[in-house]
């Protein structure tokens, strides 16, 4: 049994009452679990269920709770599980169900142009919900407080999002992050008969995390259809995942260098990022690793890839990355600029449920490669790297050291990867019948990726939920920039490097 995937039988379990569900969340969080996913579903017209998946306190530990709620409102669970607050806003957007007592209930994705009664996931047969209310920015009041708004179209070549700063002088008192500009209805496109179209959509959830999302999606579909991939295919999946991690961490170091005007680092790492993406191209035929996975294994071009040339190129890349990284992170002009900037404390990170390198840089000990290991990571566990300070420098060091760990891990695993791993066959397939919930977890380079699918009696996917690590981490950025000057915001933003598309599903 793979520890990164779990199937829950929904036909057996009975939904909890709201207060029991609250207890389930409270006990889970108190016991060291984290909120993996939280979403709503309408199994029959007018009947609404809230699903929560928690886990991670022990390797492979998943727990599922489900509450039956009225189609209009429930009292918020953000009080016992602060990590649920964006999830509740998302449910409000999709179904129009109000979490009463929620601290900042604003639409997450549906801006002013949308009809107020448009709830994409609510069936037309269900009783009509109250119209969605308009967006209200939090207003900071006081002498000399002014607002600065940025976006959605930014000055750089990046995704759209809107930031509203409330400042006293140059100092940020509060930052409100308004996303939704990238909302493409991805999750609604993922319902239906399970098939390879899911994998292609998964690769387009967040362009820089194609491998992470496609691995999570492939394992989910395989568990659902009962066609696991062989160990060699699993090895190549993890290898591609680590190549993706190296490419993005190298790219982020370059991005940080750009933002502080350290041009040697900017040019050096931009070049190395190209080299790392070149390795993914050699393997998969695409710079971002698209087309790696098939249901039940790998794309037919990949089996038989010789590891030696990849190892050779990795060795050269490692020398250049290690040299450039050590020069940059020891340069006094770099250190003084990053140290103490954009500090996110461990307590805040834990309360908000921050995952991935951003969480580990604050000392939060979470890593899905250890907590929900896929077969290859179970066999070759990578070392979890932690920093304590939680500032931009810690996040830069976290990335640098994680990257070195990935090089070490790859040099260990690549020679053992084997040549097998072709998929059984492509196309869509019929899942066995019976109502189930399938959950799949993968540690992408940005943090924990969770895919969850509710399967109906006929074996079709009734609801598909994707949790990109960005969705957990965006609120963390708002806390990290407090008490910093507004001109440090780009640097703080880059040090988190969150996906807009992944959050706006």
């Amino acid at each position: 049994m793979m520890r990164c995937v779990r199937i829950f039988d929904l036909a057996e379990s009975r939904p909890l009452a709201e207060d029991r569900f609250r207890e389930f969340l409270r006990e889970g969080i108190a016991g060291g679990d984290r909120l993996l996913a939280f979403f709503a579903e309408e199994p029959s017209p007018g009947r609404f269920l809230l699903h929560a998946v928690v886990g991670g306190s022990a390797p492979g530990r998943f727990a599922h709770g489900c509450a039956e709620i009225s189609g209009q409102a429930y009292s918020t669970f953000t009080d016992v599980c602060p990590a649920a607050h964006w999830f509740e806003r998302e449910v409000y957007d999709q179904f129009g169900i109000v979490p009463e007592g929620h601290p900042e209930l604003n639409p997450l994705r549906f801006h002013e142009g949308w009809p107020k009664r448009f709830f994409p996931s609510r069936s037309p047969e269900a009783p009509e919900a109250e119209p969605r209310r308009g967006y209200r920015f939090l207003q900071v009041r006081g002498e000399g407080i002014h607002e600065v708004s940025v976006g959605p179209v930014h000055a750089g070549v990046i995704e759209p999002g809107h930031f509203r700063f409330s400042c006293a002088g140059e100092t940020i008192q509060h930052l409100e992050i308004r996303l939704g500009y990238q909302h493409k209805g991805t999750e609604s496109l993922l319902a239906g008969k399970p098939g390879y179209r899911h994998l292609i959509l998964a690769e387009s959830i967040s362009g820089d995390t194609a491998v992470g999302h496609s691995n999570a999606c492939a394992r989910l579909l395989e568990a659902l259809l009962g066609r696991p991939a062989d160990p060699s295919a699993e090895s190549w999946r993890s290898i591609a995942l680590e190549l993706e991690r190296i490419a993005n961490h190298v790219g982020d170091l370059g991005g940080l260098a750009t933002d502080i005007g350290y041009l040697f680092g900017a040019a050096h790492f931009a070049h190395l990022r190209g080299q790392a993406l070149g390795l993914l191209t050699t393997l998969t035929g695409n710079r971002y690793g698209r087309g790696l996975n098939r249901i039940g294994g790998l794309a037919p071009r990949i089996p038989g890839t010789a590891p030696e040339p990849i190892l050779d190129r990795l060795r050269r890349l490692r020398v250049d990355a290690e040299k450039g990284g050590s020069i940059m992170l020891e340069a006094p002009s770099v250190v003084v600029r990053m140290e103490g900037t954009g500090c996110l404390r461990l307590r805040t990170a834990t309360t908000l449920g921050i995952v991935g390198p951003a969480g580990r840089a604050s000392g939060r000990d979470v890593d899905a490669r250890r907590d929900f290991p896929s077969p290859c990571f179970a066999e070759f566990p990578p070392t979890v790297i932690l920093q304590r300070e939680g500032d931009v420098l810690a996040r830069a060091r976290e990335r640098y050291e994680e990257m070195l760990e990935s090089f070490r891990w790859l040099s260990l695993v690549l020679p053992t990867a084997g040549a097998g791993g072709g998929a059984l066959s492509g196309g869509s397939a019929d899942a066995p019948s019976g109502r189930r919930l399938v959950v799949s977890v993968e540690e992408g380079w940005r943090g924990e990726i969770v895919h969850a699918a509710v399967v109906d009696e006929a074996g079709g996917i009734a609801a598909y939920k994707v949790v990109d690590p960005s969705f957990h981490n965006w609120p963390g950025l708002a806390f990290a920039v407090r008490e910093n000057v507004i001109s440090d915001f780009p640097l703080c933003n880059k040090s988190f490097n969150l996906s807009y598309s992944g959050a706006d599903l």
Partner: protein, 258 residues
């Protein structure tokens, strides 16, 4: 400091020569359509597996504006009839030209008026109008030391007021439509619009969702399409440079092979 200098010196000049040589064999660039596609059953097989409906079995065409370069059609027909090559050269002037068939299209070239005004340098404002960020990353990469499009006078600027045109990625989400129109209108005429990737041409894999406009063309007029999912930085570089007639090497002969 000295170490940084020697490090930089050791890596040296990293810009690729043009025309580039040696993209990996596996890279899925411009597809070639063989005889099996036009007289065999490759078109039917392709149409059956294509996740975005890019292959039209009736008309025997492949719409590169919808193609996400996943390669399923090539695998299903065993490489006979549809074959993806490592060729990154893919600029097209109109939405119709993206639909390739037996007759190859002439390469897209900018109208004379645009060419004389913008031919020597081109400053672009990038607008991400949805999309997954893949195309944005490739647009950014086209300016890095490996691809270095500044050597052709192309660059990204921070404001539409400084720009000669916009480069748009993504299917245009309903939430970004206004932002795109405002940015477009803020660019002084004559201006050009370059649409990058399958999403920008047709909505790509997101086509038909409740939240997208299925491409840039319905919102602002497009002068140049560069298909791909995402297109290689070389496709972007080559596409723009060829459009202005300034490419030192070959010109694309269209995507069909005789």
């Amino acid at each position: 400091m000295l170490e940084a200098f020697t490090g930089r010196f050791r890596v040296g000049n990293t810009a690729l020569g043009l025309p580039p040589e040696g993209l990996p064999e596996r890279y899925r660039g411009a597809p070639r359509l063989g005889e099996e596609f036009f007289s065999g059953d490759a078109a039917e097989i392709g149409a059956m597996v294509c996740p975005t409906g890019a292959v039209d079995a009736g008309k025997r065409t492949l719409d590169l504006g919808r193609c996400v370069f996943c390669g399923y059609c090539e695998e299903a027909c065993g490489g006979k009839g549809i074959r993806f090559t490592p060729d990154p050269h893919l600029p097209f002037g109109t939405r119709e030209e993206l639909v390739i068939g037996r007759t190859p299209h002439a390469p897209a070239v900018a109208a004379k008026k645009l060419r004389s005004l913008l031919g020597r340098s081109l400053h672009l404002r990038e607008v991400s109008a949805g999309g997954c960020n893949g195309c944005d990353l490739e647009a950014q990469a086209a300016g890095n030391p490996n691809f270095d499009f500044q050597r052709f006078g192309i660059d990204f600027v921070a404001s539409p007021r400084h720009a000669d045109g916009i480069l748009v990625t993504g299917p245009v989400t309903k939430n970004m439509k206004e932002g795109l129109v405002k940015t477009y209108e803020a660019v002084a005429e004559p201006r050009i619009v370059i649409a990058i990737g399958a999403c920008a041409a047709s909505g790509g894999i997101f086509r038909g969702s409740h939240a997208v406009e299925d491409g840039v063309g319905g919102t602002v007029p497009v002068d140049l399409y560069i298909p791909g999912c995402p297109p290689h930085p070389l496709s972007i570089l080559y596409g723009i440079v060829a459009f202005f007639g300034r490419y030192p090497g070959r010109v694309p002969a269209g995507a069909a092979e005789p």
